[in-house]
């Protein structure tokens, strides 16, 4: 079992390096731009910001008179102590404070819709590959691919327009209504689910096809394996061959793909939040872009990166349980 721990530690080491790379990239991007960042910031905010905000901004980016390396270490030290600087749009609130509640909403909305989409897509892909050429297999992939071709936020716009504005079935914005008090109570939770329903639905619609297709493809490859023929020769019932022998193996590469695609898929989720004015990270991102709030932007980049890395580690743990070959 020590090899499993070694494997998880190795992955953790990789995520640490990835996190460090993201931090470093974030530090150097402003400094690699034509002109020096301080004057860019100054030029963009001239007259719009009070002097205290300007000082806070400079500090967030470590734009002091220190040499570059010194700035870099100050920057790292600040980040490690959880100090992401002060927001410009929400001055003088610290970025950490703004992001923390928004992060929970994003994890709730994007997390649930990702899990629903992945599970449903995997199930449909399994069935489609099993009954290859059947009704499900000939109709669903092109139909879902068509939905997958729409930008997330555009489908969200249409859904909101039709079911929110037009039919009035769903709330138009926000994560919960004014009538409920946030906390661990039933009315709030029901209201939160009610608000999340439409955005989650559009996200599932767009991403479902991709998951289904990749499961279908790995499943078809797996079905050609000798151990499937052997399982059939053993006279095992079809359902058992499909689930315990075929799908159980075919899901493994998809799980790895799930982790890898997380950062990618999350982008669509963030844009969807914007349409529904959902108070998550995506909505903040728009605010940050509109207000040119650089500290907030970099804070969002950091937290989303860390969330994706954490999710990837959970996927690693899941694979450890699912695939005995990683436990060698």
């Amino acid at each position: 079992m020590s090899t499993s721990i070694q494997y998880l530690l190795r992955r953790l080491g990789f995520y640490a390096i990835a996190a460090w790379a993201a931090l470093t990239l974030n530090f150097f991007i402003p400094r690699m731009m034509p002109g020096d960042p301080a004057s860019i910031i100054f030029a963009r905010f001239r007259g719009k910001l009070n002097p205290e905000a300007m000082v806070a901004l400079r500090e967030t980016f470590g734009l002091t008179d220190e040499p570059l390396l010194g700035q870099y270490f100050t920057y790292l030290k600040n980040l490690l102590s959880g100090d992401l600087g002060i927001s410009i749009a929400y001055f003088p609130q610290p970025v950490t404070e703004i992001i923390s509640t928004a992060l929970l909403w994003t994890i709730f909305l994007a997390g649930t819709s990702l899990i629903i989409s992945f599970s449903l897509g995997t199930l449909l892909g399994t069935l489609a590959a099993w009954k290859r050429g059947g009704r499900l297999d000939s109709f669903l992939p092109p139909a879902l691919a068509f939905f997958g071709a729409f930008p997330y936020f555009w489908l969200a716009m249409v859904a909101l327009f039709t079911f929110g504005f037009g039919l009035g079935w769903f709330p138009l914005r926000h994560a919960y209504g004014d009538a409920v008090t946030p906390g661990f109570n039933l009315p709030f939770m029901i209201d939160a689910i009610y608000h999340a329903f439409l955005p989650a639905l559009t996200m599932v619609m767009v991403s479902l096809g991709g998951w289904m297709l990749s499961m279908r493809n790995t499943m078809i490859t797996t079905l050609g394996a000798d151990y499937i023929t052997f399982a059939r020769a053993k006279g095992l019932p079809s359902k058992m061959v499909m689930l315990k022998y075929a799908a159980r193996n075919a899901i493994l590469p998809n799980f790895t793909g799930f982790g890898m695609a997380l950062g990618f898929v999350l982008s669509g989720a963030l844009l969807t939040e914007i349409i529904f004015s959902y108070p998550g990270q995506g909505y903040l991102l728009l605010e940050a872009v509109r207000a040119q709030d650089f500290p907030l932007m970099q804070g969002l980049f950091m937290t989303i990166t860390l969330a994706v890395l954490g999710a990837n580690w959970l996927v690693d743990i899941a694979i450890l349980f699912l695939d005995p070959r990683t436990r060698r």
Binding site: Q6, R10, G224, A225, D226, Y227, T229, F230, A231, R232, A233, K234, G235, L236, P237, M240, K244, Y245, R248, N249, L252, L322, D323, P324, R325, R328
Partner: protein, 548 residues
Amino acid sequence: MPNPILSIKNLNVEYITQSDPNHAVKNVSFDIQKGEVFGLVGESGSGKSTVVQSILRTLPPPAIITGGQILLNGVDILQMSDADVQKFRWRQISIVMQSALNALNPVLSIRQQISDVLFIHKGLNKKEADARVRELFDLIDINHDRLDSFPHELSGGMRQRIVLAIALALMPPFIIMDEPTTALDVIVEREILFKVLELRKELGFTILFITHDLNLLLEFAERIGVMLQGDLIEVNTASVIGQGGEHEYTKKLIGSLPSATGPRRHDLIPLPDKKDQEPEPLLELRDLCKSFNLSGWINPKKLLAVNDVSFTINKSEIVSLVGESGSGKSTVARLIARLIKPTSGSIILNGKNIFESEPRKASLAYRRKVQMVFQDPFGSLNSVHTVYHHLERPIKRHKLMDESKIYQYIIDMLEAVDLSPGIVFADKFPHEMSGGERQRVAIARALSLKPELIIADEPTSMLDVSIRLDILRILANLRNQNNVAILFITHDLASARYLADRIIVLQNGKQVEEGLSEELTGNPQHHYTKQLIAAASPGWLKKNLENL
């Protein structure tokens, strides 16, 4: 004959393709008597595996059974309902498949995979199934602490035993064995077969044994059927087949088998033209070692694939390196071809230590002198290029001759390896040729640079039995006509004996014995060589069976 347990009548199977269906099995009929061992032999594509998979009706798409009857105790399997098919599988007939690694589900433990059969067919509960699994483990001599192992944790031989245990789980009266030992080394193969025959004596099941290896069947089958391109051309008792059978093709199969012992048949492969010169060393290996890192960068495990190998190849000599899979013989080939770098040791070509003169990369001069023919002719030619491209490139790269002469030279090369007319073959793509033809192209490519040494890494093992001898003959003639030295790498002691002047035996990366071919095979010293020779000699199984 009375009371056949299985009777196949006029079986026809077709594979649907993009164009015309491929008629893989044509009107095949034969009976198998209760309790006998029936062997079905044929080359790849002969339809033998298609026949046995039709019996269980496990042929995957795009196969369709287009005619005939398969009677199991008088009941036609081809007319059974789907539910009945599910029930007759494994209770009446079980199968041991070719590659045991691929036959086992990689993510389920051995215990689960055996229990599944018991749950479904016998309705046993967990405890009862467990007791039965333990019984089966005893039957195949595997320790109970392996119960919860996963397939990847077991050796090839052990996995094949597990598959055997699964086949025996319901004690069916009939077991199909589809090339069960092909992926295994000869010595392990012997152990498994011995175990199977021992169990048959004890339990009395009937065996249908499929293989491409006629020698193997002659050891223990009672009757043998020979298949060729979808037809069953002959069914006879093993003793009649062993004498050459009745069909021309059977005669050819029997006649084309070199043997490791007994008198050498000079008609099969020509002997070297004796020229009585002093042997002049061409290539010398000194204390060559190669280790591979297995896994983990925290504390890497090392595998010593080649361990202190030293030998010399003289000019225009054929030396054979014999060993089983994992013996390091292919690693030696790749080291000499300089596809990989040794961990330590030196290679001396024409008296010059090449790692001193060209340490990083092999020079063009070295490449020109040392050429290689690979095991898999399907893999060693690039499917997007013509034969002409394959032969033209090395000549151009080494600026061997004037552009205008290349075309004629390539045609000559192709005809030198019996690909004639060369003009036709030059134009072909790899997928338009048979395996044997491809391997000849590969030989022609190696030969076209007029090298001093050709390394031939198992050049015949992926080819059908009936054309292996042709390739060996071409190699033997090359040496006689072009004075090229050949390092022939093989797992087959018999063909090494026929082709090579000297044999070097390799085991687990170490050289265990070296000697002139006839001396080494006639009077082996090392016990491993003795084992190899015993396993390759006719009658080895019979001798042991008598003691049962």
